[in-house]
């Protein structure tokens, strides 16, 4: 079986400008932050980011990597709003395709199932339809109910972070919620999973019940071992959210240019190992 291990920088080297990148996790929970940091280090630009948004979206906006965000919300959970996303929206520097959260799931599922649309009730009557004139409704052939015809949200790339994976791309979450990471992988052409640690397949199997093996080999093209790779979002039970660090991020992002430059200089100007070292040093 293929050994799919690679580094975060190798993953990002396969991406190109203008791609549609789906990012797993949810808000400030189990985000593939090491992969996001690798994008920050790269020259990539003009990305369309599809996300249940958190600081992944914020950091990519801060670094000027984003052309458009497709999202249901962007939040840091314990802090209501991500300041960088907010700034990007208020300065008009990114396009926004804002959907109901369930519509986002539905669009990913339509892509995963290779369907032209899936019907959903969410969106009717709200401004979702008014703000996205490309959205259409569909009338039931079995009655006259009209529903939103949610089109597929096809991804060029999916980036997700799980607790454990083997070198072939089987992967397991250990926390309470899988979020939508399997769906992101199914909706994407190229799929990359980072994990806290790579385990042998037997070890991976022994870590819990089979139903928590969220990803299988068919769904993954590359495996990145990235301990602390979801930091500063939560990755339970390996670690919770680093609340002081998240506050420091939000404060630096909300303050003046110097504060942000200092944050970037301290944490984001080197490689992943430098980042993890700086985090440990405080």
């Amino acid at each position: 079986m293929r050994d799919k291990r690679m580094t975060a920088d190798e993953v990002v080297a396969t991406l190109s400008d203008g791609m549609t990148v789906g990012i797993g996790g949810w808000g400030s929970r189990r985000k593939p932050m090491a992969l996001v940091r690798a994008i920050l280090r790269s020259p990539l630009r003009e990305l369309t980011v599809v996300s249940y948004g958190g600081p992944d979206v914020g950091l990519l906006c801060a670094a000027g990597k984003v052309r458009e965000v497709v999202y249901g919300f962007v939040s840091l959970d314990s802090i209501a709003y991500d300041p960088w996303f907010r700034r990007a929206r208020e300065s008009g520097s990114v396009l926004a395709r804002e959907l109901d959260e369930g519509m986002l799931q539905c669009g990913l599922r339509a892509a995963a199932h290779r369907l032209p649309f899936l019907p959903i009730r969410a969106g009717l009557g709200s401004d979702v339809l008014a703000l996205d004139p490309s959205l259409r409704t569909v009338r039931s052939p079995y009655g006259d109910e009209e529903l939103v015809a949610m089109p597929p949200i096809a991804l060029d790339v999916a980036l997700v972070h799980l607790n454990r994976a083997d070198r072939h791309g089987n992967a397991r979450y250990l926390g309470p919620d899988p979020y939508f990471d399997d769906l992101f992988c199914l909706a994407a052409t190229r799929r990359f999973v980072s994990c806290e640690s790579v385990a042998d397949t037997e070890e991976l199997a022994a870590l819990g019940p089979p139903q928590a093996l969220l990803l299988n080999r068919m769904m993954v093209d590359g495996v990145v071992e990235a301990p602390g790779g979801a930091h500063f979002t939560s990755c339970v039970p390996d670690y919770g959210r680093d609340e002081p660090f998240q506050r420091a991020y939000a404060e630096a992002a909300s303050a003046d240019e110097d504060a942000w430059a200092a944050f970037v200089d301290h944490y984001l100007s080197g490689g992943e190992a430098d980042y993890q070292r700086a985090v440990r040093a405080g």
């Binding site: 919300f73 208020e90 804002e98 009557g125 979702v128 899988p178």
Partner: protein, 237 residues
């Protein structure tokens, strides 16, 4: 027992939102609605289901009784057995709610959360709102972006915007043409004060005084549900 505070009146009013709901998922967002839902389960609505705010359904005594990851929440809302209490940055007299942004959506003056689940919630099952600071900034003639669907739009056959609880009053949509109506004012609040803080004309019938939580409810709230009194920070007396 000490007189109920304003925050405690609000918690009881939030508990009353779930009256008659039976065996459905209560999804309160924010502290006061969460305390209200838990209070309802310990009193009049023992069959309510409540999550820990993440992926686990907990019994009243904190035992995990079920799994409810986000993907399953979308199944529950489509199935309809849910009553959500959302926040609102803006609400209008028809019950349209905005949590998306202030100003023009293409370039907002203030970016907020985004649509979140508001469009899906409001067309699938009963929805209520909690507003901790009742003001003309929130209660506006017209919302900037319709996240939650109001009664002047076609919300379909499951649309059911129930009530709005604020730090001043309880409101519903029993006014002419399903417009917002003042149901009760909290003790110490006048009708004039609510009218003054609302940016559109409120329908008013027989306005009552919001009920006080009884001694059993106060004991549960103060000793069990919120012994640290965090509710007092969300609503000042």
């Amino acid at each position: 027992m000490r007189q109920p505070t304003r925050a405690e009146v609000c918690v009881a009013a939030c508990a009353d939102l779930f009256a008659g709901d039976g065996e459905i998922l209560a999804s309160p967002m924010g502290l006061v609605p969460s305390l209200g839902a838990r209070l309802a389960r310990l009193t009049a609505e023992p069959d309510l289901l409540l999550s820990d705010g993440e992926a686990t359904l907990l019994t009243a005594s904190g035992v995990a009784e079920g799994w409810l990851p986000y993907r399953a929440v979308f199944d529950v809302l489509a199935h309809g057995r849910r009553h959500v209490v959302m926040g609102a940055n803006q609400l209008d007299r028809h019950g349209n709610q905005n949590i998306s942004c202030i100003g023009r959506h293409e370039r907002p003056d203030r970016q907020l959360l985004g649509f979140r689940g508001a469009p899906g919630n409001t067309v699938n099952h009963r929805t209520s709102y909690w507003v901790p600071r009742h003001s003309r900034r929130v209660f506006v003639p017209a919302v900037d972006v319709v996240s939650g669907v109001g009664y002047d739009r076609d919300g379909g056959r499951f649309h059911d915007v129930h009530r709005v609880v604020t730090n001043l009053a309880v409101l519903d949509f029993g006014g002419p043409g399903h417009t917002m109506r003042l149901v009760s004012v909290h003790p110490g609040v006048t009708e004039a004060e609510v009218v003054e803080q609302t940016g559109f004309e409120l329908a008013q019938g027989d306005v009552a005084q919001t009920r006080l939580p009884n001694e059993a409810e106060l004991a549960l709230l103060r000793e069990e549900l919120d012994p640290r009194g965090l509710r007092e920070r969300e609503v000042r007396s």
